[in-house]
Symmetry: C2
Subunit: 316 residues, 2 copies
């Protein structure tokens, strides 16, 4: 299918077109990515972007699932991009997606998709922010990106989300770990899940104590702390409202606009640096270099003029 | 002085113009380097380029000094570029140069210059190959680049010289060290200096043994091994003849042409990659990025089109 037709169908709300567009964004060449993002981009910028991260075992996918239901109760359309940095697999056909979808399988207002993380060491793949743009253009009111918090992932998620939720569980020493990893700086909302377990209040207390220590946040937002028992559906509405409250504050304070410009800057840089890196590789590869080297050795051209010729001949 | 006038005077044999040209090559901006190399380059490619390297304490500078005298006896004009990777200082006014020059101070056919090594970790600076071009253009028959053999320096010297001489001293375990550091692969000529010391024959034997183990050399040159006592002037003529013999073999076998093309390739790459790196820095710096990021955030332009605009606006 032509990309322009695919985009038209996606904008018209066709789910198959949406799935296909995500696949193109994931697997596509630079040229295809450029084409599809170029067409979709004018239709983006409307969705509320929520990042959810946390260590393995804190119950992130249950939490995400419950949040989806909570936003559906508020009549908002919700998409989830579940990024697994440890998996080489992705795509809508995965068992994981089917399990995740079972609560929402008849609901047209929900879309869930797994994506492998590739390319960035310990972080999100380049396809992730593009995937968010696709889901945004498809008209979802809330787009959640969920990922395991390892290494760079939290910081990267904060760079692409309006609101970053850091999920923890009691007794995992997570508050101290989080402080060490600099997560306090990126979290807008904390969720202490499995709050029926022993130590939940202590984790909340540790988080509060550490917030006082940490320099925080543009414009003076103090991250809120919510207790949930996602498996029993407890505290979810409050967590949803907490996330919405942060987003409302962000819009009022001018922070939303600032984050959007920051995201645009990241994206622009990544694309421009990618183009420059490809030129690097072309020089290192050296095929275009050989003929010019012979002319330099024969003193037909000086090395600086030859370098100008070489750079001009590389694909931009 | 205008660069074109400086180059004219250098080509006419003016020593002050030569010293000044070397300073410009060392300290000059990219633009000045480009200008001076562009003018000098057509006049290069005639000198015999000799690299001399070895660990501290093997007597390299005495050896170089004696070799200069030996080539002078053969009526060849000789220049030395002494590169000190550990020194932040360079230039003709250094005490070291004066001491070195004392044997040749009245001899117009000798020129000695120290150069600090900057920019390349543990290796030669970018100015070194440019300095060789300047001395080559100035009409010296033999141009020696001498440096302490630490880390990458031997490999880099081999990449810019026709003949690479690795100097050693007995009893320093140098043969084995050399094997470990991969120096056997880059040496065309070995010199066991201080050969009146105990263990000289053993060092020669070790070198021979290791040569059999090492895969060596384009076209089948087996590095020659020479014993010298530089402080007493012993073995120097034979060493000089050994170096000349390698160069003659190189010219006959086609290896000289190949090395020249390889050198040109290195130089071309370095210049082209430098230009690309500057563009990188311009994107990272982000000043041109800000305005475009705002336009992306406002959905006035998509990020790929913005990246095209950004790259087009960068200085090439």
């Amino acid at each position: 299918m032509e990309t322009s037709e695919l985009v038209d169908r996606l904008l018209a709300g066709e789910r198959r077109a949406l799935a296909r567009a995500l696949t193109r964004v994931e697997d596509g060449s630079e040229d295809r990515l450029r084409e599809i993002i170029g067409l979709l981009h004018p239709h983006t910028g409307k969705a509320q972007l929520v990042g959810i991260t946390g260590s393995p075992g804190v119950g992130k996918s249950t939490l995400t699932n419950e949040l989806v239901a909570a936003w559906r109760q508020a009549d908002r359309r919700v998409a989830v991009l579940a990024v697994d940095p440890s998996s080489p697999f992705s795509g809508g056909a995965l068992l994981g997606d089917r399990v995740r979808m079972q609560d929402h399988v008849l609901d047209d207002g929900v879309f869930i998709r797994s994506m492998a993380s590739r390319g960035h060491l310990g972080g999100l793949s380049w396809a992730t922010p593009q995937g968010l743009l696709v889901l945004d253009a498809a008209g979802f009111d809330v787009v959640i990106v969920e990922t395991v918090g390892v290494g760079q992932a939290e910081v990267e998620i904060a760079s692409i989300a309006d609101t970053t939720v850091v999920a923890m569980a009691p007794g995992m020493g997570d508050a101290i770990q989080a402080a060490k990893a600099g997560i306090l700086e990126v979290a807008d909302v904390f969720c202490v899940n499995k709050a029926d377990r022993e130590g939940a209040d202590r984790t909340v207390r540790e988080l509060r104590d550490m917030q006082h220590l940490a320099e925080h946040h543009e414009g003076g937002w103090t991250p809120t702390i919510h207790k949930t028992v996602a498996a029993a559906g407890e505290g979810i509405t409050e967590l949803r409202d907490g996330i919405d409250a942060h987003r409302a504050w962000l819009a009022d304070s001018g922070g939303l606009e600032r984050r959007r410009v920051d995201r645009a800057r990241l994206q622009l840089r990544e694309i421009a640096l990618g183009a420059i890196r490809r030129r690097f590789a072309q020089v290192e590869d050296g095929q275009a270099v050989d003929r010019l080297s012979q002319r330099i050795a024969a003193r037909e051209v000086d090395p600086y003029t030859a370098a100008d010729e070489l750079l001009a001949s590389l694909e931009s």
